[in-house]
Symmetry: C2
Subunit: 180 residues, 2 copies
Amino acid sequence: MDFNLKESMDVLERTPRTLESLLDGLSEPWIRRTEGPKTFSAFDVVGHLIDGEETDWIPRARIILSRSPDPRFEPYDRFRHWTRNVDRSLPSLLSEFGKLRSANLALMDSWHLAEEQLELTGIHPTFGRVTLRELLAAWVVHDLGHIAQVARVMAKQYREAVGPWVPFMPVLTDHEVPRS
Amino acid sequence: MDFNLKESMDVLERTPRTLESLLDGLSEPWIRRTEGPKTFSAFDVVGHLIDGEETDWIPRARIILSRSPDPRFEPYDRFRHWTRNVDRSLPSLLSEFGKLRSANLALMDSWHLAEEQLELTGIHPTFGRVTLRELLAAWVVHDLGHIAQVARVMAKQYREAVGPWVPFMPVLTDHEVPRS
């Protein structure tokens, strides 16, 4: 698919409700377990998505749109949420994520981005020049990747419980070595 | 996690709403595209989950609970939905899946399954003896695997659009060779 702003926002606006539908009200093991050391639980993923709203996607879009001579992005801290959310509950994080996402999409909508603005660039700390279009596409893929991750991490909690079904359920053996 | 019937049903009951939150109202490309020949689109996954409600999980649980001398499962047709749902819309499939799932969970709840019933066995056409506990755990993992698949298949539609982000978004390169 070619990037399309409206179709991208359609996905972005669905993510908070999707995670709430999947997670809200589940017992602690479903929410808190991971797929290995230094990997994210479902709770961690929601915290990480909040960090993205506050420090990644929209701040980087602003840098690009500022047309500054040095449109360099701040490096992104993938583990900010581990200290930030120590005392938080999942429902409060889900609610916060929903509010931040709505506000960010309303802001982006208010920019009335034109095609030529999507071609403007910023400088990523690792891989250099990227367009606003690529940044916004990455935001969508980032959401979807983390929804997939939450479902996978939950599935793996029943890896032993399914007995002989393991080879027929590829989600149980995806990312045996963490890939992100 | 050890298998727990209540915690399993908590996940099973959330799947229809999760898929509706993720998919309802999206444009056709998000819903209809796949990650390669003979693989499932989001639309196909919902059809496949309906097939599971009608022909797989509960029918197999009934076979186990019947304590027949030959508790052999019918082979499961993974592609029944391809002909069944040719003229259907995604909203109608989502609605049908929600109703079937609710009815199946209500039925299972009415069985008041005891621990010793979870130890009863049936015969899987491929891998032989399995317990009811393993079957029900597999039902949960099957749901979660397909939620992960839907998110992954959607993400891959933007593989080109993200430009240099590909190596940082593992969901884009998961299952390059279809695994199920």
